[in-house]
Amino acid sequence: MNEVKLFLGPQHPGMHGNYSVHMYVDGDIIKKARPTPGFLHRGFEKLMERRYWMGNLALIPRICVPEPDTNEMVYAMGVEALANIEIPEKAHWIRMLVLEMARVAIHLMSLGSIGGPTGLYTATYWAIAQRDLLLDLFEELCGARIYHMYIVPGGVRKDLPEGFTDKVLAMMDELDEKIPEYEDLILKHPVIHARTKDNILLPAEVVWELGVTGIGMRSAVGKEYDLRKVKPYAYYDKVDFEVPTATYSDALTRLNLKVRELYQSMRIIRQVIDKMPSKGAVNVPVSTGSALRWTVPAGMVYSAVESSRGEYGYFIVSDGKEMPYRIAVRGASYPQGLLGIEKYLKGHRIDDASLWMDSMGVCTPEIDR
């Protein structure tokens, strides 16, 4: 057999982020694939042991670059569980608002990024520009476009600015107009159908074998396996939303679910704004003294939230000192990004390698950490 060794990445334009897949190909078919992570490895877990509990707030959003708010939420939830902090009601609502806005932003981005592997660049240009307008809202909220550092242990950093909710609602109305446009361009496109339909399958037994969560799992299993439903955090049990599911998971199904989740997120945002109390504290002080010298009681806790790609978790260990003893990060795309590539990328064509990564939602910084 004439097998050629090829390097897909780390500086291949089809690669999502700084990641590499080394593969043997025969003709156009991938015979063997090995993921090569570590290009983005910064040693976060070690660095977090060397920072104060509050100082870590600057580090954690950088673990998953496209979706920083999830990290903040997981960290805050874990620390609150360890230190037994009850946060005020309004903080919960604001957190949900921020998380769902972040979900809309990342879904828009990943909807647009289908243009990379398939060549539909117009979709990329449209969707990412739309996401940018959403980032403007974040900027108004906390001063930063990407790394917000807004959700902190004890609540959120500060109250919503004046008139913020109106702007969010206006943005939701705009998205209501725009997303059907993207659907027309992407989801109804015959060539996209040709590329994605019955391609890149993810059967239910593979889901259980790898431990894939998120859209990948729900599109294969057909049950509402979403942490927001199964193990509600914040006030997700007080809002009304559906978790879109399917029982046949190909790339097109997952793309469809992404858009349907987008609508559900917008529905949650509207409800949150409706139900949020207008007055009230948004955070509780976590310590009486200096925030830097703040100590968290000893204990071990695992906290998890539903990110756009699945279960995102931190395992936090405290020994009662002013720095964490150990924090382990479970990146949501860890299973499909490593074992999934090794076992299930083979048999696909080279053309689909990049689409595989995109469709499975592999986010490289959270794998490397």
């Binding site: 982020g17 290009f39 660095l47 060397r50 981005m109 990329t124 307008l133």
Partner: protein, 183 residues
């Protein structure tokens, strides 16, 4: 700008620099988290193509290597590889505080501190991470530098090749990329 006062280019080099300045193809290599601000810079909101910049698929075709953020040692090996594949005149633009002094990862065992010890950086764009406006401004600055013939990092690299190589080997052990199938 006080880099180099005397301008000893001949007229052909000046014309060449004019073309180089107005058509900059960048290497699409997302080395770090700064890469998240590149799509907005490229797409409809900020539209980098106005400046004549665009992404290119391989280092051979590219003029500018964007180092978008921190570099782990593993990445630096590939970056050096990519840089040496590029054709001169070639430029390096480094993003974010991490490339200047290690930034927030100053004490990490995996990321390098200062990039211009290993590769000649023509322009740093500070910030963590730089906003698209800053990135655009940085590119404008790069265009000005090329027009004036001040972006001479590639010449510096040729002249001080031993010095750069020694630094690279000191920190990385070896620059050669090995088989990664581990079998």
């Amino acid at each position: 700008m006080v880099l180099d006062e005397k301008d000893n280019r001949n007229v052909w080099e000046k014309i060449g620099d004019y073309f180089s300045a107005n058509s900059i193809w960048m290497k699409w290599y997302c080395t770090g988290c700064g890469a998240i601000e590149l799509p907005p810079t490229m797409t409809s909101r900020y539209d980098m193509e106005r400046l004549g910049m665009g992404p290119m698929a391989t280092p051979r075709q590219a003029d500018v290597l964007l180092i978008t953020g921190y570099l782990s040692t593993k990445t630096l090996r590939r970056v050096i590889y990519s840089y040496e594949q590029m054709n001169s005149p070639r430029f390096i633009v480094a993003f974010g505080s991490c490339t200047i002094n290690g930034g927030i990862y100053y004490d990490s065992y995996a990321t390098i501190g200062r990039l211009d010890k290993y590769l000649p950086v023509d322009l740093y764009i500070a910030g963590c991470m730089p906003r698209p406006e800053v990135v655009m401004n940085g590119f404008n600055e790069l265009i000005k530098m090329i027009k004036k013939g001040q972006a001479k990092g590639w010449k510096h690299y040729q002249e001080n090749y031993e010095w750069y190589k020694k630094n690279q080997l000191d920190s990385l052990g070896e620059v050669i990329i090995k088989d990664e199938f581990h079998e």
